[in-house]
Symmetry: C2
Subunit: 374 residues, 2 copies
């Protein structure tokens, strides 16, 4: 008995995105052992190919064996000790999560908030940073819950002014927007594989600056997580190849193939493709009564938040999303928190960032008579 | 450009084991979203199929989105608060790891040790448990570093005598040896997918008793790990389907297919197959001068530790393992810690637990003239 066939889906929500066949074929290759020289060569290539995506030369750039949320935990748990101060920019659900994670670590959290749909105010972040003089400043590059990107450079500069370490969430931005850790002065960043990389979820690419790795090595107390301890991970990923945990072989095959696809396309062409698809989406849905939640200057290309026409708000939007899924095989995301029932989140990420996918969504909306008079 | 072909390997080390084609094909299916009803139905089936393997009816039985070592961390980090006592049975590398993980959590660790290659002494564990009256008693069912299995029932009974929670590592035992959490009175257990389940590494099936889940809900302090917090995970895996993190879709496809294969074979037949393969291995290597490290009464079937003939100890064994890999495509494991250079660890796990694989290994050893006079 083999698996029954699964329904076909066009994944236009906040992630995962669809995974190209080449990546799925690579993932299905027979296994190598995690200490096999042939596998270690693939892992080296993964690390090598991740660095330009992060805009970094950090040696410690590698895929953690867990999803993006574990990457968040890894960055904060390695850099923070109990009682340390952290300033967190909270511009949506993922900023909230950072504050929660840091609190559990035992850090003293200062939150700088902004309304959902707006960007963090660099001045507000700057004054909090100067007042608190924290060990870590933490923020989300592309806030997937609102569709906004943050002024990372200005905030990172303020953090460096008090010698704080900067942690950046790049889950949704990596390979869809320029990420420049070295130029921006970011010390630790994490991402996921299921957004603009169009690989299956399950890994979290992370990068730590040498300064950050030194900080971890110099901690007074051990990192609370053995699994995510950067100093132990460095033993496997560095030259010594010390066994730490069993690397997720098949997921690494997939990630490598996804990174090769990014390499073949080039980062600039990829970013342009994301912008083009987002533009087509906004243009296409405007006549149907959907308006962008976010002003153009801070609007993400890979994840568009759309204010729903009045008639769709609340229960009708949930019913329509269900019909899009079951009748048309298209997944789009609903709003989170305060924005639930009032917005949609439409992802055009990685391989999915193509005008033809926008057209499929528009055709389905028209078939459902969205925006039709009466 | 597609991936170059990888070398073919027969994985007879301590894991991963080879993944059957049916599982790899299932893994390569196109993605569903992690909140898609069609995906949630598969996740339900995974949970349903995991329970008999663990010998439990625990509702909280599910695959964590990280490898077995994160499962260890999840069990200990959820049940222990800072300052709590834990008694850890240390019979090898994975018992050591438990002690390390618990220390990082801030627990007070009492170690009960035994020589590598021997089983924990239930009396020694029992007196430590009575003396310390710990919150948690933690041990490894099948110690992969030595090839020994532990007297779980007796130790669990002693733990229950002082109302302690029992944590059990089932990484290597699950679906290869009987595991009976409910009958034994184990409160939290974790496993991996890359051993006797013959799925790719990357997930950690775990199970928590209702008593353990209640303990987590009643903690005075939040679980230090947001990613592994049982109360948050229960929100996604329970009826509410609250978004926590993005489930690793493709790895879940693979696990489900692996569990279906286990279901088709039946647990008893599978355990018998593991015993048969291990018997064939010991019989086959005896004339070549390899002897079992572990007495039969406590010897694992899926992972056999072999004392090497004198002439192979040290550098020659490493060279021979390298030749087995590169010339014969067979991976076997070396010794860890004190046993490095003196033993091999040969895994016949899951799909690989077959006499034909033993024969391939024996043929390779003969071709390398192992055991030949002169």
């Amino acid at each position: 008995m083999s698996s029954p066939t699964l329904p076909a889906r066009l994944l236009l929500g906040p992630g995962p995105s669809n995974v190209p066949e080449r990546v799925r074929r690579a993932m299905a290759q027979p296994l190598l052992g995690h200490l096999d020289p042939a596998f270690l060569a693939l892992m080296d290539e993964v690390q090598e190919r991740l660095r330009p995506l992060f805009g970094t030369r950090n040696p410690f750039t590698l895929p953690l064996s867990a999803t993006g949320s574990a990457g968040m935990e890894a960055c904060l748990a390695n850099l923070l000790e109990r009682g340390d101060d952290v300033v967190v920019g909270v511009a949506g659900v993922f900023g909230e999560r950072m504050a929660d994670v840091a609190t559990r670590i035992g850090a003293r959290v200062t939150r700088v908030e902004t309304e959902p749909g707006t960007a963090l105010d660099p001045d507000a972040m700057g004054s909090a940073i100067e007042r608190v003089r924290p060990t870590v400043v933490s923020l989300v590059h592309a806030e997937t819950s609102t569709g906004v990107y943050q002024p990372v450079e200005e905030i990172a500069a303020a953090a460096r002014g008090v010698d704080a370490f900067v942690v950046l969430d790049c889950v949704t931005s990596l390979s869809g927007l320029p990420v420049e850790l070295d130029a921006w002065g970011v010390d630790a960043a994490y991402s996921g594989t299921q957004k603009c990389l169009s690989c299956p979820p399950g890994l979290s690419p992370v990068s730590f600056s040498e300064r950050a790795v030194e900080r971890v090595r110099g901690r007074a107390t051990p990192v609370q997580s053995w699994y995510l301890d950067v100093t132990l991970l460095a033993g496997y990923f560095g030259g010594e190849r010390v066994y730490h945990h069993t690397a997720p072989i098949s997921a690494i095959y997939a990630l490598l193939e996804g990174l090769r696809l990014v390499g073949e396309e080039g980062l600039e062409a990829r970013a342009a493709r994301h912008r083009e698809a987002a533009g087509a989406l906004l243009e296409g849905v405007a006549p149907l009564g959907f308006e962008p939640l976010v002003p153009e200057a801070i609007r993400l290309p890979m994840l568009t938040t759309l204010r729903l026409p009045e008639a769709l708000c609340g229960a009708p939007e949930a019913a329509l999303r269900r019909r899009l899924l079951t009748e048309h095989g298209i997944e789009v995301g609903g709003g989170l928190g305060k924005l639930a029932g009032a917005i949609w989140r439409v992802g055009l990420m990685g391989e999915n960032a193509r005008v033809e996918n926008v057209e499929r969504l528009l055709a389905a909306l028209r078939a459902e008579r969205v925006g039709a008079a009466g």
